[in-house]
């Protein structure tokens, strides 16, 4: 963290220029639906209010970065977006999350179908160790009880899109755990792709990886954003600047986490409206 901060202090301007190079996508220019909308989302763990009134739009086909200091509720928020939040026994929630205009928390919703449409990649690579590499990629079909003909093509296309095909094409029968950390994370991305989600949530997907693997995953994100909506939590400002069209800054001051500011990434890094955002992206705190 501290090393990163020093980098940021040294070059806030370059962050903005990185972000500016990245041609920002306009909402509504993409035939992928209306995307995902969070409306007044609050979250609690037990009686502890950890997230307050977050309203945020994720236009289809865009990449949005969620940034903010540790403990401000980024993970909590991203987990409310595919109903993984309720997985924790004490968790509670208010507000709405709409996918293509429909509330995913509406009574009578099949939560497994929601999670199929809104996939997730976790911070720590978590392939299934009892399965081979190939089985891991296709595991979603089995888990969600989907039928697909021609799974060989699907397997290849997922691995190609995750940037892993060349490295594993000759070892598809090996165990998933036999890969390096970076490869495992790309395997997990490939696994999410196999069920063809509309939205992909990534919670610090590169935080355990080396720069090389990080670069590969960023390439993958750029590629995937052609066909899906991506929301990524990251502590790495350069990464946010490199990969995202939009950025949202979260912060909590002893109370529940808030979404302080959102906007096009280049604007957040060059001309933030809020003083706290400016302090954070220039590395003055956090």
């Amino acid at each position: 963290m501290s090393e990163e901060n020093q980098n940021q202090k040294a070059m806030p301007a370059s962050l903005a220029s990185v972000a500016a190079k990245h041609a920002q996508k306009q909402p509504g220019t993409n035939p992928l639906g209306t995307g995902l909308e969070a409306r007044g989302v609050h979250a609690w763990f037990g009686t502890k209010h950890v997230l307050s009134d977050v309203t945020l739009d994720f236009a289809a086909g865009t990449v949005t970065a969620l940034i903010g200091p540790s403990g401000c509720g980024k993970s909590t928020f991203i987990r409310t977006l595919n109903r993984m939040h309720e997985f924790i026994p004490t968790a509670a929630l208010a507000g709405e999350v709409r996918l293509d205009g429909k509330d995913i928390y509406a009574p009578g919703t099949d939560v497994t179908k929601i999670r199929l449409k809104i996939g997730m990649v976790f911070q720590k690579p978590n392939p299934f160790p009892s399965m081979t590499i190939g089985e891991n990629v296709l595991s979603g079909l089995k888990l969600a009880e989907l039928k697909r003909s021609n799974t060989d093509d699907l397997l290849e296309s997922c691995l190609v899109r995750a940037g892993l095909w060349n490295e594993v094409k000759d070892r598809l029968k090996e165990q998933g755990g036999s890969l390096s950390g970076g490869q495992q994370q790309r395997l997990c991305i490939a696994r999410s792709l196999a069920v063809e989600p509309q939205v992909l949530l990534m919670d610090e997907p590169c935080s355990a990886l080396d720069p090389g693997s990080t670069f590969r995953i960023e390439e993958t994100i750029a590629e995937l954003s052609q066909t899906m909506t991506i929301i990524i939590v990251t502590h790495n400002m350069q990464q946010a600047a490199r990969v995202s069209d939009y950025t949202a800054f979260f912060l909590s001051n002893d109370g529940p986490g808030l979404m302080v500011e959102t906007g096009p990434t280049s604007q957040i890094f060059s001309a933030p409206r809020d003083k706290r955002t400016e302090d954070y992206v220039t590395g003055r705190f956090g």
Binding site: N82, M84, F87, P89, T112, K113, R115, L116, G119, M120, F122, K124, N126, F128, P129, S130, M131, S139, G140, K142, L143, A144, E145, Q175, C188, R191, S192, V195
Partner: protein, 330 residues
Amino acid sequence: MALLEDRVNSVPAPRELTTKPRRSDQIFRFVVTLGGMSSLVILGLIALFLSIKGIHILNEKGFSFITESRWEVVTDENQEVIQSTFGIGAMLVGTMLTAVIALFVGVPISILGALYLSFYASGRVKTFLVSLIDLMAAFPSLLFGFWGFFVFMDSAEYWAKLINKYLGFIPIFQVPTPIFERSPFIAGLVLAIMIIPIVTSISREIFAQTPLDRIQAAFALGATRLTMIRAVVIPYGRGGIVGGAMLGLGRAMGETVAVYTVLNVVYAVNWQMLFGAGGNIASLILLKFGEAGAYEVDALMAAGLILFLLTLVVNFAADFLVNRFGKRGR
């Protein structure tokens, strides 16, 4: 140049890596070793005792001790043994038959129960059931035996008749004469009920250790609870379940009182599980021990030795299976 070649040619031998542990660690190591070895020593002493007492019987009777199915001692008025036949064939078969029935019925129920407790039950229901199961594990087996004999027998007999009627074409479900009371089937069911608590709580502990990130990964891929359990929990817990089942099997094979109460001890090999005849080694020992003379006691010790060896073999086999197939899901 010469220098470089020298260096290349003189690859050093790997060094021996040693450490001198601190005094406190040495002492603790000794204490721990003592604890670890004690079970081995106790087991060894029991085996030694059984061998010393029983080996001469095994020598005398040879292979017929496990193939023959009679247990007769004729003594004269001075309690001297004139003639004896010792064979535990029927009891050996009965031991395995009742234990296998117990596993067949008990383990699936235990796994389902453990899955329910781990992934479906919540809050108070869970706490209550868990303590109930622990209580059940501590129940004296005599009570299971009584319950099996006085309460359970009637309905079990009814099921046995049903099975015989509809599946009677399968040899193990046939009966030579229609006697359905006190059969290995019923004894096996009572044993199944006896092993359910231990197998359930072991399986539950294993399931509880399933890594959360894998469970979450499965749910994030649109898994239902059922598919998640199949893809993540079972592969992870497989080895542990086998281990738990083996503990159950051990208990079932060694069970004395419950089997003795329920089962009709008959000295004839009986594979037909619905037919009311059988026995197991442990119940034979219980039956004969009270009035046995010194010679017959030795024979009973020999029977105990066989049971001991059988348990050992089964457990080694289970260990082998766990190591061979259980590790993949970890």
